[in-house]
Symmetry: C2
Subunit: 361 residues, 2 copies
């Protein structure tokens, strides 16, 4: 690990965009399936509702679904208190709900990381159900707050890698919407933009769900950062015409050797960048790094419904009688990754050593 040791500047751009917020009534989720057409919030009041919101991608993005999972366990505890469960029964219910939350999406490790952090609280000693709820609430708020701070540090470290007036290509949405509120890849963009407003973002539209078009352009326009929308298959043309100086993406799971699962198409982009000698960075908090998993071939890859590919806005865009292949993620081998930007610094190859060191500092 060669962390770029520089004093982090205290000023960074914050985002106007917030994906989720804990309130006394429940969790307000910004409905990411309705953007950019409608900016609407959905009040989630039970762990079951939260599980469905994660499955249907009202909330998405690895760090954000970690926070959403933690908040889901608070909702479970609140439900238990309403039912006046005993402490033992409350623990049982919360564990059951945690299991349900864990069944939603398999690839992003942040969800399991956050649920496990909350489970540790559930199994600690408390005098009353209310005390357990308070401790869970404190822990979940801490997870959320630490994610924002981690992303801000990722932004500051990452900004040191961005050349003057850079063209930055990103894939999917690794922004405020995907995290506690600042973004990983877009956190780097925010920090870089605060120092150099002449940078420019190119956003892959990111088929099939169009998170780049629907979410990244919206989020960047909200924050006044200039962005050009492209289809996923234009990255080669862009780089051939020297419009891209650096590519940055988020991550759903990074294994011990540096292999990185991220939104489908990330691997394509990494290969295109590699062929053009354009640096390709992954930006992610430590909660995305899964040192317990040796390499990317072991990462469970979620397969989603065929309709994501065969229809757009409910209209069939292909012949009947075709087959579909719809993995939600792909795995980029570590060899194509220039560096992994974390809140503890920038890990460089060989990743098996540099990533392990991050956890010891």
């Amino acid at each position: 690990m060669t962390a770029i040791e520089k004093s982090l500047t205290p000023h960074f751009l914050s985002s106007r965009v917030q994906a989720l917020e804990l309130t006394p009534d429940g969790v307000n989720l910004l409905d990411q399936t309705a953007l950019p057409g409608k900016v609407q919030y959905v009040l989630i009041q039970t762990a079951q509702q939260m599980a469905q919101a994660i499955e249907t991608m009202l909330v998405r993005g690895a760090p954000a679904i970690g926070i959403a999972g933690a908040y889901g366990m608070i909702l479970s505890a609140r439900q238990g208190l309403d039912l006046q469960l005993t402490l033992d029964d409350l623990r049982k219910q919360i564990h059951q709900d945690a299991e349900r939350l864990a069944q939603t999406r398999p690839t992003a490790v942040n969800l399991f990381w956050a649920l496990n952090a909350m489970r540790t609280i559930v199994d600690s000693h408390f005098d009353s159900p209310a005390a357990l709820l308070n401790a869970l609430t404190e822990k979940a708020r801490q997870i959320h707050q630490e994610d924002i701070e981690a992303c801000q540090k990722i932004g500051e470290y990452g900004a040191t890698l961005i050349p003057k007036s850079a063209g930055i290509l990103t894939h999917c949405n690794a922004g405020a919407l995907a995290t506690g509120g600042y973004g990983t890849a877009l956190g780097v963009v925010r920090s870089a933009f605060a120092k150099d407003p002449s940078i420019h973002v190119f956003a892959d539209e990111t088929r099939p769900r169009l998170q780049g078009a629907r979410l990244t352009t919206w989020e960047l326009v909200e924050d006044g950062i200039p962005v050009t929308l492209v289809t996923d298959n234009m990255s080669g043309s862009l780089m051939q015409h020297h419009k891209v100086d650096v590519a940055i993406v988020g991550a759903d799971r990074i294994t011990a050797n540096g292999d990185t699962a991220n939104k489908i198409g990330t691997y394509n982009l990494a290969l295109i960048a590699y062929a053009h000698k354009v640096p390709f960075y992954v930006a992610a908090p430590l909660s995305t790094i899964d040192l317990s998993m040796d390499n990317g071939s072991l990462i469970p890859i979620e397969t989603r419904q065929n309709e994501e590919i065969s229809t757009i806005n409910g209209e069939l865009i292909c012949a009947d009688e075709v087959d579909y292949y719809n993995p939600a993620f792909d795995v980029t081998p570590a060899q194509y990754i220039t560096g992994i930007i974390t809140e503890k610094g920038i890990a460089l190859p060989p990743y098996r050593e540099s990533l392990a060191k991050l956890f010891k500092t």
Copy 2:
């Protein structure tokens, strides 16, 4: 040029799909903007209508727009005869209309090749306007018929390159719809399938206009050839999982050194195939090869409207206030092309020599 010299089998699959047909009333175009939802034909009766049909992509695909351009000049001649123009005035009108047809789309060279072949007829000696019309009709029918035969030979040559039970990835639509009626890349698929029904096609959906989803899946299903639809950004995942044995695409213009302009995303696919050591073939008739142009950097690349990217089915899919980049084509450098399959055989690198030889045999 190392043509694979083998006796071509006399049996090949023909396609049920026809993009355009000359009739006494005009030219029937299968409206490719309405597929796969509606199979509807549009009767084109003037050269001006044909120019608009090419611009709006009712008819598309390099060989098909060459044929459409030639037919457009017949329509011009028919209009002139209806107006009882003198032979001189008729020639003048046809040349003007040819100029209009040439202004439609800049990248595919087949259009200019076909218009020039027809212009040579216009400038030949005739005794009457009717004789000129007859000669133009004969020439255009010959261009159409020779395209079908060229594609069938491309299919036969190309089929020799397809391994048993191969997975074949293609981009955009280089099929019967894009040609006189058999296809270039999909001509290879048809010929291979006739010999080995265990092959399988993967069709890139091909954003922004979705020709792979809308046209290729429809055309293959019509002919009973199994096809799996994928988004453009899944080719890396497919190849990583060893599902693709060969990639084949069509071409809009191939320059003397082998550089190839084709639908946007072709270059991405070539780089992905190259990284996986998957053979990447271009299938095209000689009419697509432009020996007068030295290399791909000289090919004029059409830029199309932003709405192709920003809207789907009329709905905005991104924030307002974004910029767009919408080149309709990209250029794949010759170094990433394993072979160029033509009706005269398969050209291999170095292409400057092998392509030139094709025109001498």
